[in-house]
């Protein structure tokens, strides 16, 4: 099984479309069109739809093999034509076949909510992921590969997103095995990392507030997996592709059934964390309901802001009353905000949006690339600002204001540089990880 890049896939698809424009393919075009139209004669039923698609692809494979346009064509060329056909037909039938039943929508919602709760507190240690595998930049790439799944409509491309995500994880495991002189890890190590990546890859709670406001789709893990299983050519869901697809299906199953015994965590602590996450979720409902307002309304409680399941203290604090201890808290809140901001930029960039419809706070520099500003993962010890008291109090306050209430970023500006925020670019990290 090869992990074909999407660029070669679009080339193949263009080739398919070109052939379909050829006068000699008029009979094929007719069959394809009548096949697509025939779906409107039946009520949507994923099992039946799947059977009809699979039969059609098999029948067309035979037709294309004997077709004058493909006379003398190699096995690859015929195969490419069927891949193109699958993509064409499934793109046309997408709205009918993807997440079409209320049960699917319910399953999507359930796993999405479960992941949302887990995102609040699950750490790699809870899945016994060894520290050597905890490589944030590699994980970020794997998450991004998985997140791309919703950017595609064709089953083949959705499946490729999963395979690419797994490949990134495998490369990480392999690199670790080389550097530590161990044999490459098997499923004992692979599966926990995939579970963690899946939990992290779902849009972050903060982003979801915005996404809900814009009525964007939830992540739909369940529907994506079902869609691939039903509508990817059966002859292609074999071997390695089948293995990694099964892994993600088992991740879905694990997350759905996840309880206090599933994690390396005290059962009581698990219940408490889940409860806290539920409360945070409830707090998020408030801004979602006021959807006529352009900005999510933060919930104020005692000088703190609760939003999207996170809380931001110090909102009404005065500079003079801050203590040295507060700096640590401020820094962690700051990092949290910047991380969320990065994810938000990423998510918003992936959406076909009318800028005018964006909440005011999100306009302007928000849609600039996440890669343009450094990540807030600098060590506190490396930052001058932490060591300075008094004179910097004012600026500490500014940080909170600017990150919470607007999109200004101290570390994007020269100001940020002065304060010692190292401009470690995410891009550079990604390149290093890819080079490995």
């Amino acid at each position: 099984m090869d992990f074909t890049s999407s660029s070669s896939s679009s080339l193949t698809f263009t080739d398919f479309l070109d052939r379909m424009r050829h006068p000699a393919s008029i009979d094929l075009v007719r069959s394809i069109k009548s096949f697509i139209v025939s779906f409107s004669f039946h009520s949507a039923n994923s099992e039946n739809d799947s059977k009809r698609l699979q039969d059609f692809l098999l029948a067309m494979e035979t037709t294309i093999k004997d077709h004058p346009l493909w006379a003398g064509a190699s096995w690859e060329e015929i195969d490419n034509a069927i891949e193109g056909l699958e993509k064409y037909v499934m793109t046309k039938l997408f709205s009918r076949t993807f997440a079409c039943s209320p049960e699917d929508a319910k399953s999507d919602q359930e796993i999405s909510e479960k992941i949302f709760l887990l995102q609040h507190f699950v750490r790699p240690e809870h899945l016994d992921i060894p520290a050597v595998y905890q490589n944030e930049s590699a994980w970020l790439i794997a998450e991004k590969e998985l997140q791309k799944i919703n950017a595609f409509k064709a089953p083949r491309e959705k499946l490729l997103c999963i395979l690419n995500c797994c490949r990134v994880i495998n490369n990480l495991l392999l690199n670790v095995s080389i550097s530590t002189n161990h044999v490459p890890a098997g499923a004992d190590d692979f599966l926990p990392v995939l579970i963690y990546i899946t939990i992290k890859a779902s849009p972050h709670c903060f982003v979801r507030v915005i996404l809900n406001l814009m009525q964007a789709n939830p992540p739909q893990l369940h529907s994506n997996l079902k869609f691939i299983q039903l509508f990817r050519r059966q002859s292609k869901v074999i071997s390695e592709a089948a293995y990694y697809l099964t892994n993600l299906i088992s991740v879905e199953s694990f997350i759905n059934g996840l309880d206090a015994n599933s994690l390396s965590m005290d059962a009581n602590e698990f219940q408490e964390k889940m409860q806290a996450a539920r409360l945070a979720k409830a707090a998020q409902v408030a801004p979602r309901n006021i959807s006529t307002s352009r900005d999510p309304q933060p919930v104020h409680c005692n000088k703190e802001i609760h939003m999207g399941g996170s809380y931001y203290p110090f909102m009404e604090a005065e500079a003079g009353k801050l203590t040295v201890e507060d700096v640590h808290k401020l820094l962690s809140v700051y990092k949290d905000v910047v991380n969320k901001y990065s994810v938000l930029c990423q998510a918003v960039r992936g959406l076909p949006l009318d800028k005018e419809k964006l909440p005011v706070a999100l306009r302007g520099d928000l849609c600039d690339s996440i890669l343009e500003h450094p990540r807030a993962d600098c060590n506190p010890a490396e930052q001058d600002v932490v060591e300075v008291e008094g004179t910097k109090e004012k600026e500490k306050e500014t940080f909170v204001e600017s990150t919470v209430s607007s999109t200004r970023h101290p570390c994007c500006s020269d100001e940020g540089q002065k304060h010692g925020f190292k401009p470690t670019r995410v891009m550079a990290k990604i390149e290093i990880a890819t080079a490995q």
Binding site: N170, L174, V183, F190, L191, E240, Y243, T246, S253, N261
Partner: protein
């Protein structure tokens, strides 16, 4: 992950290893076989597979995939080839409920335990029962006692495993992924036991 071997490869007597390219549709001469590995974590499931697929693990070899899925084709004396597609499963207790997703449709299940760990032998018996209940009825099962090089620490007597395997109609072998002992024999024996499709 404690099975990296510094010993030389002993697999020179292999019948013949073909390229593991995806050969497409299997026919009567070229079987494609889904093999699932089950067993407690730490018994050396992936080490066995790596031994089989690569002989000796070579850290410089360019692999694009991980060790959790590997395939290897072997040629048998009757000029048939068998391509094993080996599915590793996570052995930790918390993932036990997921195993059916992996062994569904498998032609072969290799249940591995560690001869120095009675617990892992108990776990192997659990998997055998599970497979008997939920696996395909004609699945070929092999019971493998790994880490046979650690004779001094042996805690699972050979006799116990032989008896258990006989009672359950399984093929039994002790292997050492570390020294490569019996690794090829394991897969060759499985290949021999595969049902042959009558050629048309």
């Amino acid at each position: 992950m404690g099975c990296s071997a510094s010993l030389p490869d002993r697999n020179t007597g292999r019948l013949g290893v073909l390229s593991s390219e995806n050969s497409g549709v299997a026919d009567s001469k070229n079987l494609r076989v889904k093999l699932v590995l089950l067993g407690d974590s730490g018994v050396g499931k992936s080490c066995i597979v790596l031994r089989f697929v690569r002989g000796q693990f070579d850290p410089t070899s360019k692999v694009t995939v991980g060790a959790s899925f590997l395939s290897q084709t072997i040629a048998l004396q009757d000029s048939t080839t068998v391509k094993f597609e080996i599915w590793d499963t996570a052995g930790q207790e918390r993932y036990a409920a997921l195993a059916p997703l992996y062994y569904r449709g498998a032609a072969v299940a290799v249940v591995v335990y560690d001869i120095t760990s009675p617990d892992s032998f108990k776990k192997a018996q659990y998997w055998v029962k599970e497979l008997q209940k939920h696996g395909s009825p004609d699945i070929i099962m092999a019971l493998v006692g790994n880490k046979a090089d650690l004779q001094n620490n042996r805690e699972v007597p050979v006799q116990d495993a032989v008896e258990y395997a006989e009672k359950n109609g399984m093929f039994f072998i002790e292997t050492s992924a570390k020294t490569a002992d019996n690794i090829n024999e394991l897969f060759e024996e499985i290949a021999k036991r595969l049902p042959r499709v009558s050629s048309s």
